[in-house]
Assembly symmetry: C2
Homo-oligomer: 372 residues x 2
């Protein structure tokens, strides 16, 4: 089976590394002009003439995506010619924070209080009703802290509007959360479902730094609750493939933050940590193969390599470190790779995480959540 | 770093899958005309004009090999232009069973009793001195049971000579072994050594079927003994990369059977079963990076998929099965892929192996050695 991937970055690369042992072949369609995938056929669309798109589509049996910011008309055009999984409908909802939140609300999935605004006046009124602090985000684009503002004083609304002002913003009540969690689930073409355990995510400067799976101190009820939420989303979207739901853990329970219709950075731990990684399960799902086992075998942590590659030789000397580099040049804030570590206990895991982080300049200190 | 691999089969493919996350790039040089690697640049030498060899060598920083049957003059030609690791000296010794056994003997590594013969008369005399049964093998070529004969009656010597007769044969006293073991070790360019645990191998119709690591019921002394033997071989050959030594376990202790200067089928378990697989360690060794951890995390078994792919859907349904297919068409006796399973105990491992084998037609029944 020939898989076409929209995008040609590290997620596409990890998909290919997971799919080659299942005798899948890979082609990538890149519009950024800077593919780092380093594997398979890469079609670079220069100027969007569509010629490269034709060659790409002629080369593949089925199309999937490594990112959700595909122009919708492109997704629909592809869909008219080849099977696109997940479909353009998943893309449409997930690439718009407004649509996303509306779906959460419709399905009864709790979220932080929010208003959708499309003018300065509406923005001001939303801030007044919600009460500061609030987080304002563009409904489209923006990730890893870009295109958003935290408003602590109503007087700052106008400057935030001028800075990130868009046709539409989502304004959310600032949530007092104890930690950020995510759940990754997968649904196959014939409707089989499988769930990875809740993962605990630590961000720094708006970028994911650490993901620990299974998240420690999760009751079976909470895990079940998260599965229930993402299960409803998968069905409502008729989604095929991996779906990721980011959640806040609060005193009022789980609140849905956002979702991504794709393999996710907070699931990279599964390459070593689960019997079947998110990458392999995404491919099994779209190829309509039986889904693989999602359980974490033992406490596992994924540590992102951001901005600089750091002391790779030192990392290679750590017997428990699995190093994944993405073939990208160093640049501030860029995800260049990740390291996975596992341990028998969370205590030992913490030491191992710190030993890895010591070789990565700029990594924030790691503190297990109970000690924060 | 750009790695050039001589050969373009499944071993090259698994090398590339291990090396891409370390930002290595891969090119393959194939003379068989049937590359199955499905990854990297493949240079197919049509008629051995050398043109393709030039392009291949221009494309890479360092050259390694996935098989030991490279013509020696080709290995030396490559070596005069690029770093070849392991070197042509390792190749020269390992591709000749006579040279190999002489080195074992020189280093004091016990072997079955053997004679090297190059005529029917010498063959007859060897059989007389060793006493039947003996195994006769061509000193070059031949693997997985090809190019060899078991002689149970001196009257059969002439017909065996006619069938497998070569310029030189090695005639070995048939060994009464309790099981076949192998040890895989790795030596880096700067001389660092690391050892995988002894692995128990089960053959059927001359082809490896099951490898269990660590081999059960191995005393620390026996493991040490095997490490000592392979360590001496690595040093004597000034070998860089993975080396595999096949051994017989007998009442007189370990006897060396043969060695291979490359990643080996009996080490495929290490992809899931060790922190650092044989493929990654081979690449670390030739790139002179620190070597990775070789320990088996828990009892692990590699089951070969031979001749037919079998019920892949059924295998995908087993939550503990890791499936590796090589992108090759079915053919009698051909290695088409392998499945890895792990378990907390050898008892549970046996059940899992049998569940896997049930989906692979033609697989011999698996019996743990203590029950044979």
């Amino acid at each position: 089976m020939k898989i076409g991937v929209l995008g040609a970055g590290q997620l596409g690369r990890m998909l290919a590394l997971a799919g080659l042992p299942l005798e899948m072949q890979f082609s990538f369609y890149d519009t950024s002009g800077a593919p780092s995938v380093g594997i398979g056929n890469v079609f670079i669309d220069q100027g969007g003439t569509g010629k490269d798109l034709d060659s790409f589509l002629a080369d593949v049996d089925i199309v999937t995506s490594e990112f959700e910011h595909i122009p919708l008309d492109l997704a629909r055009k592809i869909e008219s010619r080849k099977m696109l999984l997940p479909s353009s409908e998943s893309t449409r909802v997930c690439q718009n924070r407004g649509e996303e939140k509306r779906l959460f609300t419709k399905l009864g999935i709790p979220t932080p209080k929010y208003h959708l605004v499309d003018s300065l006046a509406a923005f001001e009124s939303a801030v007044e009703q919600l009460g500061c602090p609030v987080v304002a985000k563009t409904v489209t684009d923006g990730y890893d802290g870009k295109g958003q503002a935290v408003i602590r004083d109503p007087a700052d609304v106008a400057s935030a509007w001028n800075r990130i002002g868009n046709t539409q913003l989502i304004v959310e009540k600032f949530v007092n959360f104890s930690r950020e969690l995510s759940i990754i689930a997968v649904r196959s073409k014939s409707g089989q479902l499988a769930f990875y355990p809740l993962t605990e995510n630590t961000h720094h400067e708006g970028i994911l730094r650490y993901s620990v799976a299974p998240a420690p101190r999760i009751s079976p009820e909470l895990d079940k609750q998260a599965q229930c939420y993402i299960g409803e989303l998968l069905e409502a979207l008729n989604h095929v493939g991996i779906l990721t739901l980011e959640l806040f853990e609060t005193e009022q329970g789980l609140l849905a933050n956002e979702m991504a219709p794709r393999v996710h950075n907070s699931g990279h731990w599964s390459i070593e940590g689960a019997n079947c990684s998110q990458f392999e399960n995404h491919l099994r799902a779209i190829a309509d193969l039986p889904l693989g086992d999602c359980q974490a075998q033992q406490p596992t942590c994924m540590i992102n390599i951001i901005s600089e590659k750091g002391d790779i030789q030192g990392l290679l000397r750590l017997p428990y470190a699995h190093i994944h580099l993405y073939g990208k040049d160093e640049r501030k804030g860029r995800k260049l790779g990740h390291v996975t570590v596992q341990a028998d206990s969370y205590k030992e895991l913490t030491w191992r995480i710190r030993n890895v982080a010591a070789h990565l300049p700029g990594s924030p200190e790691y503190h297990p959540t109970e000690n924060r």
